[in-house]
C-alpha cells in the first residue's frame, strides 16, 4: 500500500470525525468524534514521516497522543459534572455561556 492510501484514510477519518462533531448532540459522541479527528491527524503525521523519511511526524504524533490523553481527562470530567447538574449530556442544552 502506498502512503497515499494512508493519507486518504486519514482524510476520510477526519471528515467522519468533523461531521460527527457538527451533527451529533450527545457530548460523549462529540467527544469520541474529536478523538477520531485527532487520531486521523496522527495517521497523517506518521504517513508523512514515512514519506519524507524523517521522524518529525512520529514525534509530533506522540505529542498529540499526550495532549489527547490530557484532554480526555479534563473533557470527561466536565461532561460528568454537566450531566450531574443538568441531567443531560446534550451539548445544545449547555448553552448558558452566551451573549
Amino acid at each position: 500500500m502506498s502512503p497515499g492510501h494512508y493519507l486518504a484514510l486519514s482524510a476520510i477519518l477526519f471528515t467522519i470525525g468533523a461531521v460527527g462533531v457538527l451533527v451529533r448532540r450527545n457530548a460523549i459522541v462529540v467527544f469520541m468524534c474529536v478523538e477520531l479527528m485527532l487520531n486521523a491527524t496522527n495517521l497523517a503525521f506518521v504517513s508523512f514521516s514515512r514519506m519524507h523519511g524523517n521522524l518529525d511526524g512520529q514525534i509530533i504524533a506522540f505529542f498529540v497522543m499526550v495532549v489527547a490523553a490530557a484532554e480526555v481527562v479534563v473533557g470527561l470530567a466536565i461532561i460528568m459534572t454537566i450531566f450531574r447538574t443538568r441531567r443531560s449530556s446534550s451539548v445544545d442544552d449547555a448553552n448558558l455561556l452566551k451573549y
Partner: protein
Amino acid sequence: MKAEGIQAVAWLLIALPLAGAAILLLGGKRTDKFGHLLGVTMSLGAFVVGAAMFIQMLGYDAEERRRTVHLWDFISVGSFKVDMGLLVDPLSISFVLLITGVGSLIHIYSIGYMAEDPERRRFFAYLNLFVAAMLLLVLGDNYVTMFLGWEGVGLASYLLIGFWQYKPTAATAAKKAFVVNRVGDFGLLAAIFLMFSTFGTVGFTQILGTGAEHVGVASKLGTGTATAIGLLLLLGACGKSAQLPLQSWLLDAMEGPTPVSALIHAATMVTAGVYLIVRSAPIFEMSDTAQLVVTIVGAATLLAGAIIGCGKDDIKKALAGSTMSQIGYMHLAAGLGKPGYVFAIAHLIAHGFFKAGLFLGAGSVMHGMKDNVNMRFYGALRTVMIFTYVTFGLGYLAIIGFPFLSGWFTKDAIIEAAFNKGGTSGAILGTCALVGAGITAYYMSRVMFMTFFGEKRWEEDVHPHESPMVMVVPLMLLAVGSVFAGGFLILGGFSDFLDPVVGGEKEHFKWITTPGLATLALMVVGVAIAWRQYGARPVPVEAPKGSFVTVAARKDLYGDALNESLLMRPGQWLTRLAVWFDNRGVDGAVNGLAAGVGGTSGRLRRIQTGFVRSYALSMFFGAALVVAALLVVNV
C-alpha cells in the same frame, strides 16, 4: 527737561485724590462723618498743587515749559521699556486746572446734593477716584501710563453711573457705558501696539517729539501707518468721548446722580478723547485721511447730538445730547489741524464751565422738584429758584453763543476754522457746524423756556424751593466761568500758551466775521422758533406725538436699534450657531462614534449563541478558509 520745585512733586496731584478714595473706601463706615469733607479737601488740595504748578510754569520761557517727572520704571522687559513718568506741559496743565477746578466745585456741590443719601461717603470716594484717574490720564508721559488713567476713568464712570445700583436701569446703564467703552479701548490698545511695533517705544517724547516742530519719530511715519494709528486712536477717542458710532452709552449714563453727569460731561471722561487727539496731533498730521475722518465724525456727532437734544423731555438727556454735540465741535476742531487744536481745547475748557453749570443747575432744579426730570412738569421756576435761574441762564447764553460770552468766542472760532479749511470739505464741515449752532440755540432755548418760563405745570405735592448755599455757590462760580472763560482764553493769549505743544500759525482774533454773523443770525432764529413753540404758548403736559424727526430724536436717532440689529442680533445668532454646532457638530461626532461602536458590538454579540456546535462549524469554515488561502497563495 527735569521738573523742579512744586512741579517735581506733580505726583501729588494724582496721589491726593487717590489717597482720599483709598481712605474712604478702606475706612468704611468709620469715615461716614467726615467723608464728604475729606473728598472735597483732597480735590481742592489737588487744585492748589495744580495752580501752584501753573504759576511756576508761567515763570518759564515758552520753550522751557515742558517738564517731565520720572517716578519709576513701570515695565522693563527686553527692549520694551515703559516709565511711570509724568509730563507737565501747557496742554496737560490746562486739563489739570479744568479737572481739579471744576471737579472741586462739583465735589462741593455734591455735599448738598447727596446730603440725604446714606452712601454719600462712597460717592465721594468714587468722585476722588474719578479725578485721580483723569489726572493720571492727562499727566502720563507715555501712552501706556495714559492708558492706565484711561481705564481708571472707565472704572470710575462705571461705579458712578451705577451708583444707585439697586435701580436696574442704573445698573444696566453702567454696564452699557463700560461695554461700549471697551470697544473704544480696543482701538486705543491696538493703536499702542501698532505704535510700539512701528517705533519701538510708547513715550510721548520719543514719538511726538518736543516743541512745536514735532520732530519725534512720528514725523517719519508713512501715510498708511499714520492713517492706521490715527483711525485706531480715533476709535478710542470715540468710545470715551461718546462720538458716533460709540455714542449710545452717554444718554443712558444719565441714570447716575446729577453731579456725576456734570463731572463726566464737563471736567473728565468725555474730554479724554479730545485730549488724546490733540496730544497725538503729530501722528494725525501725517495722514490727511485720518484728520478728515476725525472732522467727519465730529461734524456728524455735533448734528446728531443736537437733533437728539431737541427731542428729549428729560432735562438731563437734553443736556447729554448737547454734550455729544459740543464734543463733536471739539473733535471737528481737533481734526482741522493747526490752529484748530487751540480752539478745541479752548472750547473744551469753556464747555467745562458752562456744561458743569448747566448740569448742576439741572440738579438744583431736580432737587426742588422731587427728582422729577421731565421738563413738561416744570415751568415758571424762575420765580422760586432765582439763583438757579440766573446761573443756568448764564450757562445757557454761553452755550448758544450769545455775544461776548464763552461759547461765542470758542464756538465761533471753530466754525470759522472749519470754513477756513477751504475746498468742498471745508464748506460742508463749516455748514454742519453752522447749522449745529442754530439747532443748539433751539434745543437749549427749549430747555430754558420749558423749565423756567411759561406757566406752572408742577405736580400736586411738589413745592419747588431754592437749593442750599453749598449748592448755589458752585453754581455762581461756574456761571462766572461760563461768562468769562472763553473771552479770557481767546483774547488772553491761550494760543501762545499752547504754542509749545501744538504749534500753529498765529491768528489775530477778529471781532466780526461772516461766519460769526451767520452764526448769530441762526442763533436768533433758533431762539425765536423755540420761543414760538415753548415760550409763547402753553406746553402740554402730555408729550405730543411729534413729527418723524421728533420721534427719531426721542429714540436717540435709533442708535440703540441700530446697535441691536447690527451687532447684538447677529452676535446672538453667532452664539446660537456656535452652540448648535457644538451640540450637533462636535458633540454629535463624538456621541455618534460611541453609539456606532456600541450598536455594532451589540449586533456582533448575537453571534455568541452558546451552541458549541455552531462555534465548531465556524472554526471549520475558518480553517478551510485559511487552507484555501494558503493554497491560492502558493499556487
